[in-house]
C-alpha cells in the first residue's frame, strides 16, 4: 500500500514538474528569503580581452513581486557612491532610479532606457530587476544537460503589462536543485544576452550561484560577477534604507 502511495506521489510530482510555470515558481519558492546582502566583484572583459574591475554592494528587502533593492558601487574610486534603487512590482516592470554623487542628483531610469548597459558592465538595467514568474508566460521546450547537470529548457515570454527588451528568453533550470544555470535573452531570433550561473552553494538552505557570467552578444564582451559575503535574511535592513533619501544619504 505504502509503495503504491509513494508511486502515486512520485507520479504526481513528475507530472506537476512538467508544467513549466510550476517549475519556475518552484525555483522562486526555493530561493525565497526576506532579505539578501552580498558584495559583488565584477570583471568586465571586452571583445579585445581588456579587463576592468568594479565592486558593488547589493542589498534587497522583501521577496519576489514585492522587493526593493539598492546596488551601490564601492570601487573603483571613480564610480564609488553611484547607486541604483530598484522597486520591483508584481503587476508591472520595476521602478528604477540612479544616484550620481558627483552631480548630487537622482535620475529615474525610464522603461525605454532599460536595455542600456548598466554603468559599463554587460548587465542591462532590466537584468538587474527581479524576474517574477507572474510577469511571464512559459512553454516547456524539453530537457538538456548543461555542465553535466540535467536541466529543463523553458521558454518565457513577457506578458503585456511587462515592458522588456527581450521578445523571449530561454531558461535552463537544474532538475535536482531547482536553480537557474543559464538564461538567454532574445530579440526576435537574435541572441542579445546570455547569463550563466555557476558555483552553486547552499547558503542558509538556499542554493545560490556564486558566479554569474553575462555575455553581451552585440558587443562580444562579458562581465563576471562573483558574490562574496553573501547573507540571507539580514536583520538590520529597514524599509527606510530603500528610498530616494537613502540613496542621497549614501
Amino acid at each position: 500500500m505504502n509503495k503504491q502511495l509513494a508511486a502515486v506521489v512520485l507520479f504526481a510530482a513528475a507530472a506537476l514538474a512538467q508544467d513549466p510555470r510550476q517549475i519556475v515558481e518552484e525555483v522562486q519558492k526555493r530561493t525565497r528569503s526576506q532579505s539578501q546582502r552580498y558584495e559583488g566583484t565584477l570583471r568586465v572583459i571586452d571583445g579585445r580581452n581588456r579587463i576592468s574591475e568594479k565592486r558593488w554592494r547589493y542589498e534587497r528587502l522583501g521577496s519576489f513581486g514585492d522587493s526593493k533593492a539598492v546596488l551601490r558601487f564601492t570601487a573603483p574610486a571613480e564610480v564609488k557612491g553611484v547607486a541604483l534603487l530598484i522597486h520591483n512590482h508584481k503587476e508591472r516592470s520595476s521602478d528604477q532610479w540612479m544616484w550620481t554623487p558627483a552631480l548630487q542628483r537622482d535620475r529615474r531610469i525610464a522603461l525605454q532606457d532599460r536595455s542600456t548597459r548598466f554603468f559599463g558592465t554587460d548587465f542591462s538595467f532590466e537584468d538587474l530587476e527581479e524576474r517574477d514568474a507572474s510577469q511571464y508566460s512559459f512553454k516547456l521546450l524539453g530537457e538538456e544537460t548543461v555542465n553535466g547537470a540535467a536541466c529543463w529548457k523553458i521558454e518565457s515570454r513577457p506578458v503585456s503589462t511587462k515592458t522588456s527588451q527581450y521578445t523571449h528568453s530561454t531558461l535552463w533550470i537544474r532538475k535536482d536543485i531547482y536553480v537557474y544555470v543559464r538564461i538567454e535573452g532574445f530579440k526576435g531570433s537574435s541572441l542579445v544576452r546570455r547569463i550563466e550561473y555557476s558555483g552553486h552553494e547552499k547558503v542558509k538552505n538556499i542554493w545560490t550561484a556564486r558566479l554569474l557570467t553575462v555575455f553581451d552578444a552585440g558587443r562580444n564582451s562579458r562581465t563576471e560577477l562573483k558574490l562574496d559575503r553573501l547573507e540571507y535574511d539580514v536583520t538590520d535592513l529597514k524599509q527606510e534604507d530603500f528610498t530616494l533619501q537613502a540613496l542621497r544619504r549614501g
Binding site: V44, D46, R50, S52, E53, P76, A77, E78, K80, G81, D95, L103, Q104, R105, R108, A110, L111, Q112, D113, S115, T116, R117, G120, T121, G218, R219, S221, D236, E240, T243, L244, Q245, R248, R249, G250
Partner: protein, 407 residues
C-alpha cells in the same frame, strides 16, 4: 592615579563608541590645462594651468548619524586661485580659495525624517539643460562655460512619505555664485569704460536668511514637484560708482520664486519640463519666467537630450547683471553622449540662441587609462555677436586637457 583611571575610562568609552562606525573616503588629484587660441581684450593669456586635490571623507557614526566632509587644495597659473595660506569656509571671495572646506555637514535620519545641517550641496529640479528651480546651487563661474557647483551652509529637513517628499531648506547666509574676474577674459568691459579705468569694489551681501520648500511626488511612472523660494538671487546684479575710476560692485537682489518640474516617460523618450517665475521686490531686478522643455532618450550606447530653454520677462527693469542662467535661455540646447567601451566615452553638447547671435559647442573625449587614472580632452567653440551673452565670449573658444587620478 584618579586621572589615569579617568583617562583609561574615557579611552574605553571612545573605543566602544567607535565600534560599528565606518569610515569611507574618495577623492582625486586633477591637473588641467586650458589653451585659448585667441587673446581677449582684458586678458592676453593663452594658457591656464590648474591643479586641484579633493578629498571627501565620510564617517558613519551610527545607523542614524553620518558626518560628511570635503576638502579642496588648489592652485593655478592665472590668479583665479588666491595666493593666501588660509582655509576658506564661506565661498564669498572673488577668487577661488587655495584651501577650502568644500563640504562639512552632519546628517541624521530616523524613519521618514532626514536632517542635514552644515555646508552641503542641495540640488533641485529635473531638467539637465538648465534648472530654474535649483535655487540652492550657486556656481563658480570664473570660467563661465566650465562652471562648478558650490555648497551652501544651512539646514535641510526632508520628510518622505510613500511616494511624496517634502524638502525644507534654511540657509542663514547667502552663498553667492562666483562671478568672473574683471581683469580676465570672461568679463567684457566696453572700451569707453575701460579707458576710464575699472576696478572691482567687491560685493554687498544681504543679511537675511533664505528659505525654500519643495514638494515632490514620484507617481507610478512619472514624477513632479512644486517649489517655493524666498531669499536672494545667488547671481549678482552690478552697480557702478563713478570717481577717479569706475568702481563696480556686485549685489544680490531679493528673490521670491514659484516653480515646478515634471518628468514623464513616454514610449519614445522621457519628457522633462521645469519652470520658475522669478519675482523681486528690488526695483532694479527684472521679473521673469525661465522654463525648459526637453526630451531624453537612451539608445544602445547613446544618450540623447535636447530641448528648448525659454525666457519671458514679466517686468523689465534693465539691470546690469551677470545672469548666466538667463544667458543660456532663449536657446535650443542638445547633448549627445556615446560610450565607446567601458573605458572610453565621447560627448557633444551645444546651445544655440534662437536669434542665432550666439552659439556654444563642446566636444569631449574621455579615456580611462588605468583603474585610477583618466584623461579628458575637450574643445569648446563659442561664436556669435558681441551683444549676446554667449556671443560676447567668441574669443574664448578653447581646448582643455585634464588628467585625473582618482583614489
Amino acid at each position: 592615579m584618579v586621572a589615569s583611571r579617568t583617562a583609561f575610562l574615557w579611552m574605553a568609552l571612545a573605543a566602544e563608541s567607535l565600534r560599528g562606525q565606518s569610515f569611507s573616503q574618495r577623492g582625486f588629484l586633477e591637473l588641467r590645462g586650458a589653451f585659448y587660441p585667441q587673446t581677449a581684450p582684458g586678458d592676453s593669456g593663452r594658457a591656464v594651468g590648474e591643479a586641484l586635490l579633493r578629498w571627501e571623507p565620510s564617517l558613519q557614526l551610527s545607523p542614524s548619524w553620518k558626518l560628511n566632509a570635503a576638502f579642496d587644495a588648489r592652485t593655478d597659473t592665472h590668479r583665479q586661485v588666491e595666493r593666501i595660506w588660509r582655509a576658506d569656509f564661506q565661498d564669498r571671495r572673488r577668487q577661488r580659495p587655495a584651501f577650502s572646506l568644500r563640504r562639512a555637514s552632519a546628517l541624521w535620519h530616523k524613519g521618514p525624517l532626514t536632517v542635514e545641517a552644515g555646508k552641503q550641496f542641495i540640488r533641485w529640479g529635473k531638467a539637465d539643460i538648465l534648472n530654474p528651480t535649483d535655487r540652492f546651487a550657486p556656481r563658480d563661474y570664473l570660467s563661465v562655460t566650465d562652471s562648478d557647483f558650490l555648497a551652501v551652509t544651512g539646514a535641510r529637513i526632508t520628510v518622505e512619505h510613500g511616494a511624496e517628499t517634502l524638502d525644507l531648506v534654511v540657509t542663514p547666509r547667502l552663498t553667492p555664485s562666483r562671478a568672473p574676474l574683471l581683469n580676465q577674459r570672461w568679463v567684457l568691459i566696453p572700451e569707453t569704460l575701460r579707458a576710464l579705468g575699472v576696478e572691482d569694489a567687491g560685493s554687498r551681501f544681504p543679511g537675511r536668511a533664505q528659505y525654500g520648500v519643495r514638494w515632490n511626488r514620484n507617481a507610478n511612472g512619472y514624477e513632479y514637484s512644486f517649489v517655493f523660494y524666498d531669499g536672494f538671487h545667488h547671481l549678482p546684479l552690478i552697480e557702478g560708482e563713478l570717481g577717479a575710476r569706475v568702481r563696480l560692485r556686485r549685489y544680490h537682489p531679493r528673490l521670491r520664486l514659484y516653480g515646478g518640474d515634471a518628468a514623464v516617460p513616454t514610449r519614445l523618450a522621457t519628457l522633462k519640463g521645469e519652470a520658475a517665475w522669478f519675482t523681486s521686490s528690488d526695483r532694479t531686478a527684472d521679473e521673469y519666467v525661465l522654463y525648459v522643455i526637453q526630451a531624453e532618450r537612451t539608445w544602445k550606447e547613446w544618450v540623447f537630450a535636447g530641448g528648448y530653454a525659454g525666457e519671458a520677462v514679466t517686468s523689465r527693469r534693465n539691470p546690469v547683471a551677470f545672469a548666466a542662467d538667463r544667458g543660456f535661455a532663449r536657446a535650443f540646447v542638445a547633448r549627445a553622449a556615446y560610450t565607446i567601451d567601458p573605458r572610453r566615452s565621447f560627448a557633444v553638447e551645444a546651445a544655440v540662441r534662437q536669434n542665432g547671435e550666439g552659439t556654444w559647442t563642446r566636444a569631449e573625449y574621455s579615456h580611462q587609462l588605468s583603474g585610477h587614472l583618466r584623461a579628458t580632452a575637450s574643445f569648446t567653440l563659442i561664436r556669435g555677436e558681441p551683444n549676446d551673452f554667449l556671443g560676447q565670449y567668441r574669443r574664448n573658444s578653447h581646448g582643455m586637457i585634464a588628467l585625473r587620478y582618482n583614489f
